[in-house]
Amino acid sequence: MTDFSRRSFIKATAMAAATAAAATHLSESEAVAAPATRPAPAGGDGGVAWNKAPCRFCGTGCHVDVAVKGGKVVGVRGSRNAAVNKGLLCVKGYHVGSILYGRDRLTTPLLRVNGKLTPISWDKAIDVMADRVELDPKGFAFYGSGQWTIPEGYAAQKFMKGGLSNNHIDPNARLCMASAVTAFLGVYGVDEPAGCYQDLDEADTIILWGNNPAEMHPILFSRIIDRRSRGEKVELIDLTTRRTRSSDHADHVMIFKPHGDLAIANGIAHLLLKEGTYDKEFVAKHCNFRENPSLKKKSLFGKPMTFEAYKKELEAYTPEKVEELSGVPAAQIRLLAKRFADPKIKITSLWCMGMNQHTRGTAINTLVHGIHLLSGHFGKPGDAPTSLTGQPSACGTAREVGTLAHALPGGRIVKLKPHRDQCEKLWNLPSGRINPKPGYHTVKMWEQFTKEKAKGGDVHTIYVQVTNPGQSLPNLNHLFNDKEGMKDKFLIVSEVYPTATTRLADLVLPAALWVEKNGVFGNSERRTQQWFKMVEPPGQARDDCWQTIAMAKRLYDRGFAGMRDKDGKFLFDVKDDKGKSVPVWDWNHYYDVNVDKWLHEEYRGFTTMKHKDIAPYDEYVKAHGLRWPVVKQKDGSWRETRFRFSEFDDSYVKKGSGIDFYHSKTKDGKAQIWFQPYEPPPEMPDKDYPLWLCTGRVLEHWHTGTMTMRVPELRRAMPHSYVELNPVDARKLGVNNGDKVKIESRRGSVVMPVWIDGRSKTVAGSVFVPFFDERLLINNVTLHLFCPISKEPDYKKCAVRLSKV
């Protein structure tokens, strides 16, 4: 094929893909569980093989078709049959294939010897890891990720809780969505959103609570744009602390002061009650009321309160008072309440880090659920309180597999004996193997690691997989940087590129990335998505799941009792279709069998315990994901669930009930509406540190930039971090664009260039800094105080001062 005809062929294919995507409306009501037909071989473009995978970046869960030729990824296109994205991708998805090919990929295990990272064999690396476990199994911790695949997280979970009897395992998802989890538990008794992305197609009003989906979840945002472009009226209300690209599309932009969201939610509830416009029937049938025992004593489930007491507590939140607390004019509070009071419209609330990374994260999450319940804007397509996730498997791996320090798979928790019993039975462990004491959550884990043993620092080793805590933890000087030079601490890091974390690592393990391995992710709308390995990882890079199993096998061979089940068999005794054990701990045999499938089928046993049922692995091979609970039908097919708790769609709802919160904490089928008072942030600007600091992401870079900073086009488009300043503050400081300023807090400092009225528009008295740049670590400055319930730190507000350098 000549270059010209090949080019013409590719252009024709590109036009066909774009035309099909343009003609396909993103609305998914007609596209439930579309089959994942593999794209037809692109005959004529040189033997390219195409296969499906979810995108590696955010929690939206777009599916891409990946083109492989000569052992390399050479192209991507949005999967047309995928209900999530219908053939479209955002600019990060556009570059997802390139993340594999940065020139500094880690390709060999490295051990720090005399201060220098030195190549070693995998055999030696596994020995070192096993040595660290045996040193003191109780002091070994595992720090994972919402980017872990479900099988990777499940294997790590089993290794720690089932093998070491040690619950010191926590994912970086603690830093991004733990507050959403605790609120779902506190309100509904079970985690994860009731609705799905279809809500965005059906809502009349969409409220963004501190959320910027135009940049962070562009494909979801494009559903709104798509509807508007077809002449539909979709009202967008942006509640925010700074103007963003999402604000540009909003009908109403309401700028609030940090923590003002608590007051706003209470103000809406106040007006619904005062004006009698709440949904009395819905509340009577489906809701109870709840509060914390006291301001100082907050708890996950709190205590009951009467409707009258709830109403009385809200009396203080008049629109005028809310204006004073939040900065949002009383008229706009009335507008919000008017929307919720209108039963004829459908309202979807969207949120992500703005509400989760919050010292009152659980509280604001419960309040937003509460106003949806109070107003009856719940349970119908388009009427939904919906939290989004930032990572591709924060829901699947952190929340569903339960890789949090207190949890077990399938919504079980370590502190309850019946739950431990169920888990021990499924893992065939001797009774009592699972430790009943919750392990260290993320902040505590790193505090214990960076504290000398003599001073009580009882974590001696942390094994990090698929995340970059040396950049993403808050208050790095307190939680990470102190590790440097500590002789009795050991950091193991499995990574794809050198990072701020590998800088202090004692053992670096080269990892396979995305389509270099099999995988399963779970996205923001409960959709479990599978893919197959398509290309080989570079050099000696290997799967994280293999690393865990190889370490477990080394311990087993050394006689470590925890690596045996109650029959003496290895915890990861993976068998082939004929029931024969396969030595998957030997890399040469790891892909002799599909380890993901074996782990998936074992994990599946947990998922029915709290109605998070997943289907057999092979069902996911055929689909672009399925939303749990996936329930087997009489004809043998598997049916996913779009709207939980709603009788019209959820098989587990009691017939005739309409709505049934079947995991209600009060065991009466009712959800809990919480009263949570406004409280000021724990650190506020003062004369020494007069400005608010908010941190976040930018369109071009994903999280700590480990992958996107290796894509030259993205790096060039956004080459370094910056501090975004309001012109008023810039004038006061006497700085112009590009001038360098020192940002200081009580915890640390960083110097970076100024961008006045940059991509977003900060309000006077506040600054914004993205956290993607490992050379300009803003987390030296941020606060590590966290929500008392979720233990999720607040990256969105602390006090800083700026000075010209």
Partner: protein, 84 residues
């Protein structure tokens, strides 16, 4: 060679939409497809990914283009050339 298939959402405002179409049809690196409502499929043909990416950014900034999305990307000639 970098070839991408993009979907541009055009403004509901007739004037802005017409202006955007005029600009787009004068861009030689673009092939415009058949509009579906306000959504316009286009194919971009540029020398390399860098130019492709720049073009994508430019398209999103044109008055009358409210959103730009990607449907297809082909970059095999420089796969593996990404640098840290």
């Amino acid at each position: 060679m970098a070839i991408s298939g993009l979907v541009l959402t055009l403004s509901n405002d007739d004037t802005d939409r017409a202006a955007a179409l005029a600009v787009l049809s004068n861009m030689t690196c673009l092939e415009l497809g058949e509009r579906a409502g306000n959504r316009l499929p286009v194919v971009a043909d540029t020398p390399d990914r860098r130019a492709d990416r720049d073009l994508f950014e430019r398209l999103g900034r044109i008055t009358g283009v409210t959103f730009a999305e990607v449907a297809y990307v082909w970059f095999d000639t420089d796969a593996g050339a990404a640098a840290a």
